[in-house]
Subunit: 541 residues, 2 copies
């Protein structure tokens, strides 16, 4: 027997409809890529999204088509998401920090029909244009006045949408229809696409607003420094529309001064980014003597947050730090370290000890830790195991089936992280089983670097591990076994790799060893290698 409640699919157009009806005048403030501060309210943003949807429909964009965005956090980028979803197409956020070859590979794999691109990235698109197989049109997120000269089949966004009005109805969609696509740099092989649905975006946003999660409401003014090309911008554009929160978008400028200016002038209450960004902000505050008068809470995720950052926010600037953990495959929020009432009495170091943990899971994220045989481990705050997760906004498989089935028998996804969980449900990452390095919140694939290094004619074997770095969290160290009798110069390795990877993927150092530790099956034993280089200090540049 089925219930007799209304059929009301969880589709993302309802988010912007809700905000425009109930909070028409609430604003999105953007530091535009062109330079000015621009303002648009929810009513206008919805109307412009409808215009875009109508224009895409006129342009022959069909349900399920992919449209790439290579863009900063701006209100136009948010409009693009809602407009693209509004015709049933899929916003595909592309990370512009990847190596151009990878970007081209990803766009071809996604079979994107259009690219929405910020002025910043027009040269990037020009550079890879010859390699793109499916892109028909480039929409530059600007107006005619700022349009650059280009040979691309390009149009300015403002002219593009001006050719349609907002008299359009969102396409009616199944809530399980695909809404967004985001590739994650895989540990092995090619990047893999995570395909979000309308349902997962909405359930994830609802979860994200809960008082024990981000606790965001209409009174908040949210500044997502985390780019929208990182896993849905941590869902903040959806969360904002769901609640009618104000939004402040930093565009292309994410240095300490630029962020502080927006935090201060726009009276931001909540902001979110990786630790590296906060390090820059705190350095700016220290240098300038500025304060954070309006900011109440900062969400820090994407990499483990150093205690010094937490201490500075909490004790010096009176901003509450919420440590968080998630991943692209989780939409991305997994856990947030809000303080449960049993632990509300903690102060000083004991409180910071708690805040160093990545936090507890909300309804909609089921966690377990298992040993190598898949047996559940106890939640005692000591016993660690593979961190596995299940929920409605977590990947069940990758786009086009890449990488096969990533779920275990119980339907849990292997996060590739190793963690323990305490009796209160607080999870702490202790290690990583997946072979990647996280630098400034971005993944670097160890295996891609190794494959590249062994291509050098004098290299017998190569391994890459992450070394702790005070600013970037981790940086890659390349460990090489030379071929018998060979003596290799470091520079020879660096120049061999240069131009074949993004600059920021380049290992910070190369060391030469006689042999690498191996497992019984002949794989490199990364845990032993990391142990061996635990005290290693990267050269300061």
């Amino acid at each position: 027997m089925l219930g007799l409640m209304q059929d009301w699919p969880l589709v993302c157009s309802k988010l912007i409809d809700h905000a425009a009806l109930n909070f028409p005048n609430r604003e999105f403030v953007t530091r535009s890529v062109e330079g000015d501060i621009t303002r648009v309210n929810y009513a206008q943003l919805r109307a412009r999204s409808l215009q875009l949807a109508k224009r895409l429909d006129q342009s022959g964009v069909k349900m399920g088509d992919r449209i790439a965005t290579l863009a900063w956090n701006t209100s136009r980028h948010v409009e693009a998401w809602f407009g693209i979803m509004g015709v049933g197409a899929i916003y595909h956020t592309v990370n512009p920090r990847l190596f151009p070859e990878q970007i081209a590979w990803i766009i071809n794999h996604a079979e994107d029909r259009m690219i929405f691109v910020d002025l910043t990235f027009v040269p990037l698109v020009e550079a890879i244009w010859d390699k793109l197989n499916t892109v028909e049109k480039v929409v530059v997120l600007t107006d005619d006045a700022h349009m650059p000269a280009t040979d691309l089949p390009a149009v300015a966004y403002e002219s593009f949408i001006a050719a349609a009005d907002s008299d359009f109805r969102w396409l009616e969609l199944d809530e399980n229809a695909a809404a967004g696509l985001c590739y994650t740099s895989g540990t092995t092989g090619n990047p893999k696409g995570v395909l979000y649905s309308h349902r997962s975006n909405i359930l994830h946003a609802m979860t994200g607003c809960l008082p024990d999660m981000m606790g965001l409401g209409s009174r908040d003014r949210i500044l997502p420094v985390v780019p929208m090309f990182h896993a849905n911008g941590w869902a903040l554009p959806f969360v904002a529309a769901l609640n009618g929160s104000g939004m402040v978008l930093p565009g292309a400028r994410m240095d300490g001064e630029a962020i502080w200016e927006l935090l201060d002038s726009e009276k931001v209450t909540f902001t979110a980014a990786v630790p590296t960004v906060w390090l820059m902000l705190l350095q700016y505050l220290e240098k300038s003597g500025k304060e954070l008068l309006h900011l109440e809470r900062v969400l820090i995720g994407g990499a483990a947050c150093p205690r010094t950052i937490m201490e500075a926010f909490e004790n010096k600037y009176g901003v509450h730090v919420m440590h968080a953990w998630g991943m692209t495959e989780m939409s991305p929020l997994g856990t947030i370290c809000s303080i449960k009432p049993e632990l509300a009495h903690l102060e000083g170091d004991a409180r910071l000890d708690l805040q160093e943990k990545q936090g507890h899971a909300p309804f909609g994220v089921e966690m377990k830790i298992t040993d190598d045989e898949g047996n559940r481990q106890p939640w005692d705050g000591k016993t660690y195991g593979k961190l596995m997760v299940r929920g409605p906004a977590i990947t069940k498989s990758y786009f086009k089936g890449e990488g096969g089935n990533p779920l275990d028998d119980e339907g849990y996804f292997d996060t590739g992280d190793v963690a323990h969980i305490d009796e209160y449900g607080y999870m702490q990452i202790t290690d990583r089983s997946k072979d990647v390095i996280k630098s400034g919140g971005e993944w670097i694939s160890s295996i891609e670097l190794e494959n590249l290094a062994v291509g050098h004619p004098q290299v017998a074997e190569a391994a890459v591990i992450g070394i702790h770095h005070p600013k970037w969290d981790e940086r890659p160290l390349l460990v090489i076994v030379p071929k018998q009798g060979e003596e290799i110069a470091k520079d020879s390795i660096f120049s061999f790799m240069e131009g074949k990877i993004a600059k920021w993927w380049m290992p910070d150092d190369v060391v030469f060893v006689e042999e690498l530790p191996h497992t019984a099956t002949g794989k490199i034993k990364k845990t032993a290698l990391r142990e061996q280089f635990r005290e290693y200090e990267l050269p300061t540049v």
Copy 2:
């Protein structure tokens, strides 16, 4: 193209699983019907619900079967909900305040197979037992020691579940499966059953927790005075499990002193009930000189809240009042009057003026106001119209199709209320188009009373309208046109009606008139009649 997120149905067992895993030691405190204060934590409550589910499964209860509850707010009642849903059956909350004939009618209409009943209501079940057609077993929510002597096929709850252990798996269900059933006293004809689904219960609970709605989290200790037999207890049992909030349950005692004792001793932060309850509490506080030291917020709904109650809570006791509106057909939350940031500057009378409105709608509740032709009216805070609603936790039709299709062409449900909505989205009820009276948060059907009254041999025509009452919000006034030449004594009317309706349905007064106002089609014009008796004062008893 469908998204590639996990299939994770929104079923209610996941709520209690989440709470038991992440908040195992958080407590449910109950003033038991037997008298003692009892405590059970989420881990225990889940284990007991599993025991019950297993026991029901052993007893042959099947998916879709209805199980009635006639019970106060206790942890056993909460366990019963989760246990019943856990085998795919449907908890059917029956309002014990209805007239016994109505209760029997409802139980027969629902075809309930079992009744879970508090000690208080065993005599009620005994009285109607001969009329019940489908009930096989009565489970009394107590232990053997407190079991009353009865001829019913009854068993004590504790013995019933003791016959099973908790080694059971919740039945796997479609999220659209029916979860709960609650009848609403119709405006015409028989009561109609609202059939909630697992999905609607969960989406509604998620919405209810949002910071702009009830804003409930793990640190809250919730005391629902509103009975669980009123529209899911305003979703508070689900909301609590979703967040791991503590719960304090008042059992059978809802007088001012009993409620105050729990608020105080259990450090309750949030409570919810109809205005009548708060009137009693405030009278108790006034008389005793007690204070509300821990309570932060009170949700007041079920009837328009008098300003004096708001003033007392806000100004005298420092408790924030959240006016709310909803209905059984809405699971029930429709709007809550939280303060939007644009209006946060309001103080004193201006703030109370705002709080007198029923509030704004969250994501998941779409409102419109329309004229009689169905045209949308502007949101200007003046123009009123029929209040229509749409959303995933709103009724699309009634159990067994009673009353036909209650939705308009756009899928909106007619609430039967008349309201205006202002530019900020704040809705205020101004009148009622449905022909009912709301007394102490419970519906009284005008039409049933009228049909009864015209059965009196000297009555030609009868109309019942609600008259404002300081304690009960409204009380019924019976207006009678005697048959030609007849002179009727009031007592003759009262004694004619006595025993045919619940005591609290009895009109507070009877007045005799020569004629009633009628519409062109011959219906009684209630608006004109209410206008005519606007200044009428009910006799004080």
